[in-house]
Amino acid sequence: MIITTGVAYPLLVTAIGQTVLPSQSNGSQVILDGKIVGSELIAQSFDSPKFFYPRNSTDSGSGVDPDITPDNALSQIPRISNATGIPMNALKTLVNLDIARNKETNALVFAPDYVRVLNLNVELVKQYPEVYAPEVGVKGGN
Amino acid sequence: MTAQLRQSIFDKRMLKDSVTKLNPIYLAKKSPVMFTVEVGFFLVLAIGLLPNMSLEFVNENRVFYIETSIILIVTVWFATFSESLSESQARAKVDSLKNLEKEVLAKKLVDGKEVPVISSSLKMGDRVRVYAGEIIPRDGIVHEGKAFIDESMMTGESNPVFKEKDNPVLGGTKVANDSIIIEITSEAGKSFLDEMVGLIESAKRPKTKNEIALTILLAGLSLIFITVVGTMLFFGYYLGYHMDVSVLFALLVALMPTTIGGLLPAIGVAGINRLARDNIVVKSGKGIEAAGDCDVLILDKTGTITEGARRAIAFVPMEKFTEEDIAQAAYAASYSDHTHEGTSIIELANEKKIEPPFLMEILTSKPIEFSSETRFSGIEFSPKKKSFTTQGQTPKSSLPRTRVSAKIDELDESNIQVKILKGSVEAILKIAHDVNEPELRWKAQEISKNGGTPLAVAVNDEIVGLISLKDTLKKDIRTKLDEVRISGITTVMITGDNQLTAQVIAKEANIDQIIAEAKPTDKLNRVVEEQLKGHVVGMIGDGTNDAPALAKADIGLAMNRGTAAAREAANMVDLDSDPSKILKVVKLGKQLLMTRGAITTFSIANDVAKYFAILPAMFLKDNPRMEVLNIMHLHSPESAVLSTLIFNAIVIPMLIPLSLKGVKYKPELPEKTFLKNMIIYGLGGVVFPFAGIKAIDLLLSVFMR
């Protein structure tokens, strides 16, 4: 029974998972320019004012909440706009796009609206590679 | 009831008894709930009396402790009082029975001579002669003679009962006329009466299963509340509340099911008492409880459902004959039959103003007695001697000649012995063949269909017609049986009648099932059969052949007039010998359980209000958030505790009448009963203490101001 439940079962799930769903199996990694920059499910700390910040780690149950509320994201827009010169409207659009994408992954009804911070920041880097060049040190992909 | 209650309240022995029962050792064994309350009394009293008690958990003033302790001990006393009260009622019944058992002078027969001895010296097998007006010294059977016996002192039945050879008689009853010789059948001190006294008197009756289960449940609840209150002391202390031991004890006593705990013994004794009052002697408490569960009742038709006395209601002639013919023949056949049935046939004939013309012959006839082999009875007479029968001498009947009288004359002429017989159709068919048999059977069937019993009447080998006999339903039996049915009990009627007759009576009386043409063993078979299906079976019996079934049945009610074997085997005996009383027993059994259930529910439901009374008193001073719980707004914490305890105590005596009388039981669907009781005792149990405690608090606040 130990072998069935404790070894065979998890290994089988792992084997199939790694083959069929490699991305999820390995922690939903976010890739930018071929490099792994994090997991979309785990909060990453940002201190540059050019990025959206996640929640303080102790504010959430998990301490690694990857998401912020739309209100939180919107309130960060003026700061980011100031630091990067990206127009507020453009930032707002990106935020809304992220919200829409997340809504889709939750089949529209199963979760409140939220913003996935790392995805949004990666999107920023992709859209404005030159603005973020100093922080990221790589060329954005146009 | 009330007079009796009043009388027993002022019974000194009972009061003394209720105080003796306060003995903690007695309580610890008998009622754990009350024992805990008493422990609380000692503890709180000690705190109140001992000087300089300034412990961590003692915060109130001395007077409060003494008041609390008094209420606690009064609570216990109310409980012991209720028990003593019901026991004293049992004693009253015993005393009245014991009066019957006085020593009397008996006339013992020694070698045919009467020797006066005192009754207690009589042995089994001794014979005594008892004259009119004398008391029968001990249980026995009639050995010789016939007499009417006055049994009113035992049964309340005012009409003297006729007893003849081999009938049982009871010690303590009185011979009304004539004299009889009685053979003593019981040892001194072991008579039926002695047994009965013993049964009622033994208040130490073993607890029934349900009682044990309920006691366990109550003990379990008490343990839970002890844990709750005990741990509250610590939590309260660590949370910074000013905890007080006596207030905690008050909460414990209030929460514990003291009401049902205190009244439980009284309810049990009251059940036996109430049956005793109805002249039913119960041999074990188990029988009464089983009665509540009874779902199949096997009832004898005769005596229980019907009056047990069949009467002739119609004469049915065969086609060849007239009503007059059959009436005349029936008259003749019944002439020597002095049973109720026989008399009723003659009466019916008289009613119809029909009299046989051959009265002379009848007067001089020889009776043919009923025997179990022949199963018929009647008369026979020899042909008239020719020499005597000249036309002039024989008084010519003024009545017109009928076919029957013609036939008798004809037989006379032919010098043939005349037999006029009546009996069951089958029995008569064996001896009389001159009949259109299909017609006879058809007519017999018709009588059966109407619930009658057909008797055929034959003159020698010719069948003249049928008599329809019918038993009448007992008064009120229909209503009683309707009630039984609503309570979900299946009724089974057992009778020697044929299927058709049985069905008609069953329909008239609203009986569910019948066992027709029953043999003596059928009763036992049916009892076992039903029990195998899981039914709880009740039955009545009086004959010796009923004894095995009575012993096997869950509720066996024997008739007092029945045989000793039947009384021995049954678990209850009805002194009035009224079979329909089994319905009363069933009702009482149900009431007994319901009373326990209702008071338990009431007791538990009360806890809701008690929490709301005491918790604010306990916590409000130190924690203003508890104000939300303070929905009762009692005068002060002290008055809240005291009024809760007072309420808790006085509920016990308030419910004594209910415990003794039992919860009202109405035959109806169990769901309906349940819903009704739940509303009265459950919902009422929640609401009533809110009002009661508040009222007591208002009263107390006048004094405490």
Binding site: S28, T69, A111, V136 | I216, M232, F235, N623, M678, Y681
Partner: protein, 535 residues
């Protein structure tokens, strides 16, 4: 939107339990299952290995003994793994202290999953996978098997309660494993990782490095919820995005937790009358409804919310988790409102709305027996259950089962204070909030729930030992007693007659619910007033 979530969770759980209820019923009476021949062959292999005669029927004592033996072996295995994980493969970590290992083993074998260790940080992948996942099958299988035996007690006549080893094998292989397997894939699809690596290190956008803990999460998560276990791969439990990645996974996990507990009344209905099963289901749902109402009364949500669940998703998950005694959490307990916390306590006090896999059903029947006792008296009939007389011994055992629970919660809580063990981790000053935490800890242990406020701060010898023993007593004492009741019922005569009061229908559901509520509230009212109510 909230209504839709609620409907999907309840509808999904109930819909699936109709299917699984039918299946459970077949398993209880050893009827043919789909693929019986294949499954039978596989199982026979297992019986041969452990040397079991599958036809042997056990008395309640033998059945209970088999439970104890199996569970002791499983717990001993887990303890050994935890103590010596430093010597075992797959990212070894230092072995646990003896008291923590004992606590953890007791916790997982009793289906409690109280975690005094720091989740992923303290356990190796081997310990999580081979140790914990194994126990996560053993514990619910034991609970389900016990409930099987218990229900058989009311169906069978003088034919034993079944064979524990057979039940245990069949439950793991043909019930838990297949569902867990497919659920793991669904969770994997939604984002729960599944790998044997313990960490991945990435260079962040800002050029620093981030280490992310990872592991075979999906395979643990599915059986964790399905088996009413509740012990998370991560310390943060189902709040962690890897355990519960999205709103959909949140809803799915709620359904997983509810499905087996709700299948039991359906199975019971198949075997003992549809109305009776539905009535018990209704009583469970009414209790659960009260908990949800208390949970939802909190509008703004606790501070420890995960953004992707929101207040509603969190409250729904927390109440579902406590109601099924799973004990997993998707938000911090500390932030919850008094009402919601009272709702959680209610679930742990009753243990049967709907309660853990198997255990909840048994507890509900205990309530049914107590209810019928009083109902019977109220209508003047000797109380009976399933047309069998309830005798004093049953009432004694049922009352004892009922009494054990408050005793196991309250007495150790007092001990925690008198030994200063509570004060040493919660501060000298006792407040309603800290009292609530202590009360919660033991309620959770006694109810084999596993959620807690204290977490790793309770990793002290006192808390480890005391909660371990409470978990053991809270699990096996009632199990033994309940099996004893079932054992005595199999020996009892059954009637073919109408019940005096129907054990189905609105009236019965109403009375049963009121009885459950009143008995529970009367027992715990003062403590709720002193604790969460005064927070």
């Amino acid at each position: 939107m909230e209504i839709i979530i609620l409907l999907v969770v309840l509808g999904g759980a109930l819909g699936l339990s109709v299917i699984f209820g039918r299946y459970l019923a077949r398993m209880i009476v050893y009827e043919k299952r789909p693929l019986e021949n294949t499954l039978g062959r596989v199982e026979n292999g297992f019986y041969r290995i452990i040397g079991v005669d599958k036809y042997e029927q056990m008395t309640w004592k033998q059945y209970f003994l088999a439970i104890v033996i199996t569970n002791v072996i499983a717990a001993g295995f887990l303890m050994a793994v935890l103590l010596y994980q430093n010597d075992l493969p797959l990212s070894p970590k230092p072995g646990l202290s003896f008291d923590l290992a004992f606590n953890t083993a007791a916790s997982f074998v009793t289906n409690t999953n109280l975690q005094h260790y720091a989740g992923d940080q303290q356990l190796s992948i081997f310990s999580q996978m081979v140790g914990l996942i194994f126990l996560m099958f053993v514990a619910p299988a034991t609970g389900i098997a016990s409930a099987f035996a218990f229900i058989r007690g009311f169906i069978r006549k003088e034919f034993g309660l079944g064979n524990f080893y057979v039940d245990f094998t069949r439950i793991i292989l043909t019930l838990l494993l297949p569902i867990a397997f497919f659920s793991a894939f669904f969770l994997l699809f939604l984002g729960a990782p599944q790998t044997l690596d313990s960490t991945i290190t990435v260079g962040t956008l800002q050029g620093t490095s981030q280490t992310i803990t990872i592991g075979p999460v999906a395979s643990l998560e599915s059986i964790k919820e399905l088996g009413s276990n509740g012990g998370g791969f991560f310390g943060a439990n189902s709040a962690h995005p890897f355990e519960n990645p999205s709103g959909i996974s949140n809803v799915f996990e709620c359904i997983l937790m509810l499905v087996i507990p709700l299948s039991f009344p359906i199975a019971y209905g198949h075997l003992l009358g549809k109305g009776r099963g539905l009535s018990i289901l209704a009583a469970m749902l009414i209790g659960f409804g009260v908990m949800l109402a208390l949970g939802f009364s909190e509008q703004n949500g606790p501070s420890g919310l995960e953004t992707r669940f929101g207040s509603f998703g969190s409250a729904l998950f927390q109440e579902s988790s406590i109601a099924t005694n799973t004990g997993s959490a998707n938000a911090a307990l500390a932030g919850m409102s008094p009402n919601a916390v009272i709702g959680l306590f209610l679930g742990m006090f009753v243990q049967a709305i709907p309660g853990a896999d198997g255990a909840g059903m048994m507890m509900m029947i205990i309530f049914v027996i107590l209810t019928l006792f009083l109902v019977g008296l109220m209508v003047g009939k000797t109380p009976e259950f399933m047309s069998m007389k309830i005798n004093p011994r049953d009432v004694k055992i049922a009352a004892f089962v009922f009494l054990i629970h408050p005793a196991l919660i309250l007495i150790p809580s007092v001990m925690a204070y008198t030994t200063e063990s509570a004060q040493s981790i919660l501060g000298e000053q006792t407040t309603p909030a800290t009292f609530t935490q202590v009360l919660y800890e033991y309620s959770s242990a006694a109810a084999n729930n596993g959620s807690d406020y204290l977490g790793t701060s309770a990793n002290t010898p006192f808390w480890n030992w005391s909660t371990a023993w409470i978990m053991i007593l809270g699990r096996y004492a009632p199990f033994g007693l309940m099996l004893a009741i079932a054992g005595s019922f199999t020996l009892r005569d059954r009637k073919e007659v109408v019940e005096p009061i129907k054990t189905s229908g609105f009236l019965f559901v109403g009375v049963l619910s009121v009885m459950v509520f009143v008995l529970t509230v009367l027992t715990f009212f003062p403590f709720l007033a002193m604790g969460p109510f005064s927070m």
